[in-house]
């Protein structure tokens, strides 16, 4: 009979329409800004820099090695290495980035910077509410805007952050064990308290 197929199809739409009143699976619409789906843990948006402790300048894990700058496919990272050194998370004297900019209008969220970073210093954020009225400066994130605490990292990617912390702790233990007991002055405590002696932080006041 001509029209049978059409009727069959309409029965299907009717089933979906009335079904949406009873079955959650058929009603998938979310009233977006007011109502949001739970965030998926692995989600990623743009990179940020992790720091330990409470002071973002002292605790920053990044040592300005510029590997991510070189490996970034669209070349959206700009790093200028510092002239002086300061103790890093493991307690070693290290350089730090005097300038660390990411242009998120160019960044394509591929997370290759995260993969190549040997210091677990750069990780992917989940924030997507980044609209701004300035196309250039508004989307250029500097070191201070990029710095986020380790607690924040634990908040957004708990599983991954726990694994990173465990690896870092093991590395620190190894570094401590290697050191002759009383030969050198003890290294600054890695993450907990702010580092005692203040380092000159030239070019960092932003």
């Amino acid at each position: 009979m001509v029209g049978e197929g059409i009727l069959k199809g309409l029965a299907e739409t009717a089933r979906n329409f009335f079904g949406s009143y009873v079955s959650k699976e058929r009603l998938t619409t979310v009233q977006y800004p007011e109502q949001r789906l739970p965030r998926i843990e692995a989600a990623r948006s743009f990179p940020f820099l992790v720091y330990d402790g409470s002071d973002w300048q002292q605790g920053m894990r990044c040592v300005g090695c510029q590997i991510c700058e070189k490996e970034c496919p669209p070349k959206c990272i700009l790093i200028e290495k510092s002239k002086d050194k300061k103790p890093d998370a493991v307690g070693k004297q290290q350089f730090y980035p005097a300038v660390f900019d990411i242009d998120i209008s160019v960044c394509m969220s591929c997370q290759i910077c995260v993969e190549v970073c040997p210091f677990d210093a750069i990780k992917m954020d989940v924030d997507v509410d980044l609209p701004t009225d300035n196309r250039f400066a508004g989307l250029l994130l500097d070191k201070q805007q990029l710095a986020k605490s380790n607690e924040y990292y634990h908040g957004i990617h708990p599983t991954e952050a726990a694994a990173v912390d465990a690896a870092l702790a093991a590395e620190r233990a190894k570094a401590q064990a290697k050191k002759p007991a009383a030969a050198t002055p003890p290294a600054a405590p890695p993450s907990a308290a702010p580092v005692p002696e203040a380092q000159p932080v030239g070019g960092e006041s932003k």
Partner: protein, 386 residues
């Protein structure tokens, strides 16, 4: 160099029987036409409603992907391949990884192969589901069927996000394996989606397969003969709808496809309806592969432990690697000169090559059917224009 110019004034036809002068009408469909699947343009010459000439115009989305890749490291091109056919980024990653693995002779661990098959077949499911939704939308059933298809696609994209961190730009494969292992509970979640998928297929078939209007619009329209399909290197579901038994999963036996029992559905007419139906049948076969893969997946490493992520330099040589992507044969041709960047990087885009026969399919049909034919070819402009 001579450039053949496109004729600008359509010729005047013979006067009609009543003495009135008629003329061919030249129209430009696209590049902002809603049913050209992006910025694709066709210069169509019409005699009344009938198409007498059709010239596709490409390049509106051209960004010279190949040149970009030649200035990137091997790894650096991986996220760019996501943007070729942005509906199925994982199969793009796979084809590129496969070509590099051929070039450098890298082995892939067992678990990574299974993960590749699982994510690749999930990609096929969501590509075909959205394609049939788009096709029906193109033919005027606005909204409902597309939204039903997208409802299912969302479930699969959620899986991709949980695994790779991104819904569409997955950047998941690495040379010699995959980037991350499955998070806890992911396989169970994926199994649930796959188990429920056939119910959606049944529902969708009820919805429209027997629909008389759909049959009228699609049967006998845009017939592609198997001879022309082979001659033009048409690949993927489009070739199989014409009865060409060529599925690279079966022919090349790449990865671990020889371990799964699945059939290759073939069409017999090669019209739009066959191309539409073949996607349903392929999805059912993909569900079979997925069930077997998720049953058998072993534990183990997900990437070749010898591979270093930085400083990858394959020895000089070249390789052509290809896979059966949801759109057809997706190939990558790489030439290495021993440096960190490929000397030559070429994408064999199935979407572009399947468009070779667009004019042949469209000659003599009504202009409204051009949209249906184009929709059934399944193109993504990110891959056509590169």
């Amino acid at each position: 160099m001579s450039v053949t110019a496109y004729p600008t004034t359509p010729p005047i036809l013979e006067p009609a029987a009543d003495g009135s002068e008629t003329q061919l009408l030249e129209i430009s469909m696209g590049p902002q036409h809603p049913s050209t699947h992006g910025v694709f343009r066709m210069n169509v010459v019409l005699d009344g409603e009938r198409v007498v000439k059709l010239k596709p115009v490409f390049g509106y989305l051209h960004r010279n992907h190949e040149k970009i890749a030649e200035n990137e490291t091997y790894l650096g091109s991986m996220p760019y391949t996501d943007r070729l056919d942005y509906i199925c980024s994982i199969t793009n990653n796979w084809a590129y990884a496969l070509a590099v693995e051929k070039l450098a002779g890298i082995q892939v661990p067992e678990r990574a192969e299974y993960l590749r098959v699982i994510t690749g077949e999930l990609t096929r499911l969501q590509n075909h589901a959205s394609l049939i939704g788009f096709l029906l939308q193109d033919m005027g059933s606005s909204g409902t069927p597309l939204m039903y298809a997208f409802r299912e696609r969302e479930n699969i994209l959620d899986l991709f996000e949980a695994l790779t961190g991104s819904r569409m730009m997955c950047n998941y494969m690495r040379f010699g394996g995959c980037r991350v292992d499955t998070p806890a509970g992911w396989l169970e979640q994926a199994q649930k989606v796959v188990t429920e998928f056939p119910r959606f297929l049944d529902e969708y078939e009820n919805l429209l397969v027997g629909n008389e209007i759909l049959m009228e619009r699609t049967q006998g329209i845009g017939v592609l003969s198997p001879e022309l399909a082979i001659d033009s290197a048409i690949s993927g579901p489009m070739a199989r709808a014409s009865g060409v038994n060529y599925d690279i999963r079966k022919v090349d036996n790449y990865s671990i496809y020889s371990r799964f029992s699945f059939r290759v559905p073939l069409g017999s007419h090669g019209d739009v309806y066959d191309r539409y139906m073949i996607r349903f049948l392929e999805m059912r076969e993909s569900v079979k592969i997925l069930n077997e893969a998720m049953r058998d997946i072993p534990a183990g490493p997900i990437v070749d432990p010898k591979m270093r992520i930085r400083g990858f330099r394959p020895k000089p040589g070249e390789a052509y690697g290809r896979i059966e992507s949801p759109k057809g044969e997706l190939g990558f041709y790489l030439i290495s000169d021993g440096s960190t960047n490929p000397y030559r990087y070429r994408v064999r885009p199935p979407s572009l090559i399947n468009l070779t026969v667009l004019e042949d399919l469209c000659l003599g049909v009504n202009v409204a059917d051009v949209v249906a034919i184009l929709g059934s070819i399944d193109i993504v402009l990110g891959e056509v224009d590169r």
